[in-house]
């Protein structure tokens, strides 16, 4: 086995290229404060411009095929890209783009050739930003129970309804949206996916006031929104994967959302917090206390196991290995270990972790934000309970037939 993120000569050269490129192309002022909800429009625009430049290199969506604007990169090079982005405090893409991150691989599986050529290159080149629209006020874990309708009328679908916990600050160009196309149809056989341009008449976006973003996408998630559709006419050619076939399409999307692709970003805040506890302030270090050291080690182990699960999933998905429960297992682990780590931080370092005060809050507010974000992160991409349900079905607990993982390329 080889766990190395160490580089072969070619990989080393690639890493050097990426690093040099990022040094040259990452604009000043890209960093925002610890709370991504504070991201200014100017900071967002800077991130988008970096995204377009990454897109030109095929690095914005490095694993997608070149013919659609991706990078066709192998697992190792993708790891290097994620690594180098994380090293300068950025994720990939460097802004919230969940509709692209999960929609693009789904379109690759389910779209027609014409749709792939129309939708994928602008996403991969960073020209458009895409949100994903799934959850509704009355349909969270029970996604199949959504109520937003899209009724065929000539060459368009007319969309009505409300989506919540959507997107990010500063708008989007299009929305990858699950809708009901047959309101009288049987459950699971009445759904479809639409790519909805956000500039169509009848769409309104209202920000939600949340504890944090809970964005697994790392930095730049920004504030969440409600999106209202009032008789919005969406071109029929934007329906992907076949009318009323949306539940099957959803298995691909959800496989990615539930962690099946494997995310490689380290939980940087843990490693920074360890360093913070080693540092001496007025002759005293938090790690001087044996109880604190014991907690720090537990925290480290939690983070390491989560990292290893992510690494395994990444390897599974990029080498085409069969997967079953691993995506949901990683997601569950990340959520629960996040909560565990956050409470350990509070125990170890005391009430200062609750403050983002420049003088008293540790690590420029990063730890305070993590206190909120770890709690918020329990719900996005399926609750911990749903992750357990998925795991049990995939393992085949209590049943001989194991549920198959959704197709991901």
């Amino acid at each position: 086995m080889n766990f190395a993120i160490e580089d072969s000569p070619q990989q080393g050269a690639f890493r050097a290229d990426v690093r040099t490129w990022l040094e040259k192309n990452t604009p000043a002022g890209i960093a925002h404060s610890a709370d991504p909800c504070d991201m200014t429009l100017e900071q967002y625009r800077i991130r988008r411009s970096l995204g377009r430049r990454l897109g030109e290199m095929g690095w914005l969506y490095p694993t997608l095929p070149k013919q659609y604007g991706g990078g066709d990169l192998d697992a190792e090079k993708t790891v290097i890209l994620y690594d180098e982005m994380a090293r300068i405090g950025l994720s990939l893409p460097p802004y919230y783009d969940a509709g692209g991150r999960m929609g693009a691989p789904t379109i690759l599986v389910w779209g027609t050739e014409e749709q792939k050529n129309r939708f994928l290159p602008p996403i991969c080149r960073g020209e458009v930003r895409t949100w994903q629209l799934l959850t509704e006020p009355s349909a969270g874990s029970d996604l199949a129970g959504i109520k937003t309708t899209a009724i065929r009328d000539g060459d368009a679908y007319v969309v009505n309804g409300q989506k919540v916990f959507v997107g990010s600050s500063h708008g989007a160009d299009q929305s990858w949206t699950i809708v009901v196309t047959d309101p009288k149809g049987e459950r699971h056989k009445n759904l479809s996916w639409l790519m909805i341009p956000m500039d169509l008449p009848g769409i309104s976006v209202v920000p939600m006031d949340l504890l944090a973003t809970g964005g697994e996408g790392g930095s730049g998630s920004g504030v969440k929104n409600s999106v209202f559709f009032d008789n919005v006419r969406v071109p029929a050619q934007n329906l992907v994967g076949g009318e009323n076939n949306g539940w099957k399409v959803a298995t691909t999307h959800l496989e990615i959302e539930h962690g099946g692709m494997g995310r490689l970003a380290d939980r940087r805040v843990v490693y920074e917090f360890l360093e913070f506890c080693r540092e001496r302030h007025d002759g005293h270090a938090i790690a001087d206390d044996p109880d604190a050291r014991a907690e720090l080690v537990e925290m480290f182990i939690e983070a390491e196991i989560t990292r290893l699960f992510a690494l395994r999933n990444h390897w599974l998905s990029h080498t085409g290995q069969p997967r079953s429960y691993e995506g949901a297992q990683y997601s569950l682990r990340r959520k629960l270990s996040g909560l565990d780590i956050a409470s350990r931080m509070l125990r170890i370092a005391g009430p200062r972790v609750l403050s983002k005060d420049p003088r008293w809050g540790p690590l420029e507010g990063t730890v305070e934000y993590f206190q909120r974000d770890a709690i918020t992160a329990l719900h996005p991409g399926a609750t911990t309970d749903i992750q357990r349900v998925i795991m049990a079905r995939r393992i085949g607990v209590g049943r001989r037939e194991r549920e198959q993982a959704g197709t991901v390329r």
Partner: protein
């Protein structure tokens, strides 16, 4: 990055699976559980014949010089039994201690015999104040003419009942640094008493004025501890793989039972509370698995493996014990019927929990590796 097994490892896995399925099936395991002394007659000749006694030993000493990951793949399969016996104690742990500590003449004298399975070595380290740190190992030896005299008691010695030779850390003439002695298990003054109870092949070994030749001081006097630590860092991860195998087995048993056991008119695995137990087991299994194999990868690649090894041992010990606990929640009554086989793992998970250092011990060492103290 490549987390798959290579061709050699797949062959090792296949032959070990075959061994566990046939030569060491549940009936054999239950019989050995009742009568551990039969292990050597029933299993050992086959184990030696398969070449497993030489896998972790370099070719120049009669072994096949496999990587620690190769050896771990074998032990993961043996852990699914759990297959008892001194293979780890002798052919991995003791062999690596000798590789690190012994003189070349001693290596030539002892390692080929370990490699062929003819002799069985085990480490007798822990004492009344149980612990794996140097200050807890106090047994004394004194020089008496041309030989040494050893008196004292080692407790919780694994596989001593099967051993031909004991490796015994002592302090000679009040020295603070430890020396390591090879003592014949049937030497005059050595008495080995298997401890009865909820543990597997663990003994008290008493030494009453045992005479040890100076040729049997392993390597240089006073230099044993560091050499043992180096050997431990290599061997521990293999023991972790055995626990991974144990977790795998109880996971498989629990999933199977969740399907076939019916209550309230449906398979119990349809109840989400039962599902939660199974999910806990697989989470423990995979935590143990990936921390273990990453540690092995570092050991084999010559990287600094200490932090990973300490983490793996801490996680794997805890995981095996907890996996068994959750399996008992799934199985309820049938789980404690000895004939069913789950308790073989439960007992092994407890027996090995402290072996080569408890999770707490390894977490303490991890604190140092992380430069927290």
């Amino acid at each position: 990055m490549d987390l798959s097994l290579d061709d050699t490892q797949q062959l090792i896995q296949e032959s070990a699976r075959d061994f566990v399925r046939n030569a060491c099936n549940r009936d054999v395991l239950l019989r050995l559980d009742r009568n551990p002394a039969e292990t050597m007659s029933l299993l050992w000749p086959k184990i030696a014949e398969l070449g497993w006694t030489g896998m972790a030993i370099p070719e120049q000493y009669g072994g096949t010089g496999n990587s620690m990951t190769d050896v771990a793949v074998l032990f993961e399969e043996l852990g699914t039994g759990p297959v008892p016996g001194p293979l780890f104690s002798s052919a991995v742990l003791a062999a690596h201690i000798l590789l690190q500590a012994a003189s070349s003449a001693q290596k030539q004298a002892w390692l080929p015999a370990i490699s062929s399975g003819e002799r069985v070595f085990t480490l007798a380290l822990t004492e009344a104040h149980y612990g794996w740190s140097p200050e807890q190992v106090r047994m004394a030896a004194r020089q008496d003419g041309s030989s040494l005299s050893v008196s004292g008691t080692k407790v919780m010695v694994h596989d001593a009942i099967h051993a031909t030779d004991l490796l015994v850390p002592v302090r000679i003439d009040g020295a603070s640094a430890h020396s390591l002695l090879r003592v014949g298990a049937r030497s005059k003054g050595v008495s080995i008493r298997a401890l009865d109870g909820f543990l597997s092949a663990v003994s008290e070994v008493a030494f009453d004025d045992v005479r040890v030749s100076k040729d049997d001081i392993v390597g240089e006097p006073g230099a044993a501890w560091d050499a043992m630590q180096r050997a431990l860092l290599r061997a521990v991860a293999v023991l972790c793989a055995y626990k991974v195998g144990g977790c795998r087995a109880v996971f498989g048993m629990s999933v199977e039972y969740s399907r076939e056991r019916s209550q309230f008119g449906q398979a119990i695995g349809r109840f989400q509370r039962v599902q939660d137990h199974v999910i806990q087991i697989v989470n423990h299994l995979d935590s143990a698995r990936w921390t273990t194999y990453e540690a092995l990868y570092k050991v084999d690649s010559g990287l600094d493996a200490a932090a990973s090894v300490h983490m793996a041992k801490s996680v794997a010990s805890e995981s095996y014990m907890r996996a068994c606990d959750f399996a008992h929640e799934v199985h309820a009554g049938i789980g404690v019927v000895r004939e069913y086989g789950l308790t073989l793992h439960t007992k092994m998970s407890r027996t090995l929990y402290h072996c080569l250092g408890s999770p707490k011990t390894h977490r303490r060492q991890l604190e140092r590796e992380l430069k927290l103290c």
